[in-house]
């Protein structure tokens, strides 16, 4: 387990830089972050929206049949979405992560 990093020192009496002080004035390298490729953005948006839309659409699952191991559809279908949503979010994380890496983020 790594020791706590010294980021605690990040606090100062006044917590902020002057708003008009740009990166260049602070002698930091320019921020080279590119926006995510459109394809990745669309894919991530779909992966994020899928669980929200599916579960907000109550009419699509508010029914008793078919039962599974005694669970009415209404109950097992929502529990199933725990796994699907988790998978979607993980995939979105991998997509963002890989796109950032390939794009020369740092």
């Amino acid at each position: 387990m790594p020791a706590a990093r010294g980021v605690g020192s990040l606090h100062t009496e006044v917590e902020v830089a002057e708003p008009d002080q740009t990166d260049r004035e602070r002698e930091l390298p320019p921020d080279r972050r590119q926006p995510l490729p459109t394809g990745v953005l669309v894919a991530v948006a779909l992966l994020i929206l899928a669980p929200i839309v599916a579960l907000m659409w109550v009419g699509s699952y508010a029914q008793e049949d078919p039962r599974l191991w005694g669970f009415p559809f209404f109950y097992w279908y929502q529990l199933l979405w725990v796994f699907i949503a988790s998978g979607c979010t993980y995939l979105a994380y991998r997509l963002v992560h890989n796109a950032r890496r390939g794009g020369g983020d740092r």
Binding site: E13, E18, W69
Partner: protein
Amino acid sequence: MTGVNWVALTVVIILFVFVTGVGFAAARWRRAQSMASLDEWGLGGRGFGTFITWFLLGGDLYTAYTFIAVPAAMFATGAVSGFFAVPYTIIVYPIIFVFLPRLWSVSHRHGYVTPADFVEGRHGSRGLGLAVAVTGILATMPYIALQLVGIQAVLEVMGVGGSNNVIAQDLPLFIAFAVLAAYTYSSGLRAPALIAFVKDFLIYLVIIVAVVYIAVKIGFGASFDAAQKKMATINPATGKPTGVFIPPPAQYWAYASLALGSALALFMYPHSITAVLSSRSRNVIRRNAAILPAYSLVLGLLALLGFAAIAAGTKPIGLNGKPNAQLGVPQFFEDSFPSWFAGVAFAAVAIGALVPAAIMSIAAANLFTRNIYRAYFEREVSREKEAQVSKITSLIVKLGALIFVLSLDRQNAINFQLLGGIWILQTFPALVLGLYTRWFHRWALLIGWAVGMVYGTVAAYQQSSAATKHFGSSLDQVPFVGKLGYIALTAFVINLIVAVVLTFVLRAMKSPEGVDQTEPSDYFADEGDPRVQPIDELTADTSKASST
């Protein structure tokens, strides 16, 4: 139920003493050079990785009250009041995946400790920061109090606390809270972070055993059938069915809006933000958004324990002789399992109350220190002084919660928590929309917030139910839609409309904008980025005060 269940009580005491030791030892865990700063005391050094953050957030969000109240709601009135917690805790993670990394970045770049710090810095408005801070404290206090209600529920089932003597009745609660206050004071956020491991291990153990027990002894089918029958039974008091087994079309909107409104509100709570800001990097947050749903599964299974208790014929009678649905699941454990295992389950709930109570009191204390004390009383406060103010405030906050529970009716704590959820969602525009745009005018956001708060409070006050005259439900008719919906979400939409309209008006009037302390690149800064450590030499010479 007569007398004290000594075996269960002994198990609970042993586990409680164990976590107390863990809580004090936590001060030396990942030890920093000095604990005398909010970054160390209040955010655990801002260095927690994926694994610790998973336990910490899991321990923080899925509170003892949740574990008691959700199955209790299932037991009493079924799906709409109880099972919405499952879609709620599923959709919350895709939502936070989008905006929390931005909040993490800007907070690390500028040393923000609380959500109100960001709001103040972004919109250049101490007043808006104060509004967010006060809302956070108001919403958190009753939530802490409800953790005590969770502890009370298991104590009551074990037969403790029923005496007529006021001191003896509440003594166990006093002791538990005094101990909690002591180790939170000395170890800060490290204490709940370490205790969360114990809590989560116990919860997972209990739920696995319970699910196997239900499958073998009662049967899931039988549980659902018993619940279906109970929910369809006409309640003689109201002339309506007891509850909802599967929502009818008229309740779709209610179910969906409860889930969505709660999901949007969850990470507005200061204690959620505190746990997020203690993590090491953006990726820790994103990975956690993918793995935290494991707790949602546990919550779903726990909810079904409410149905199992119906099938098992559990009779939750309080020590005062009155039926109390909150005791349903603890009573089910005492009836169905050997005493020692019931003790483990009770300990899981009690320890499950300590973790969030600690984090909530730290979060509320940080809000007071940064956005009230520092903003209005001592602008140039030193970091040591800040930590000291926060530590003392955390004690006061806990004392307040204790007085709240002991002096007021339990129903009051539940009412205020209902209101807390409505209130906290009203900070969403200033906080989350602020992460993306400065289009909104600061005063428009402030007035929108005020309108949402007033509307939500009044609407909640007007709801009556069979049990209470006011605050009987978190659902109300949605204006112009005509269906039942979650009041918090309706208030949020009104808040947003007011903010948009007033922004146009204030723009047209050329009303002064606040100064934005952030810049676009702040929202992407990550671990290892020089921007994440604007260490003293970069910022020490600046003192741009914001003002409203």
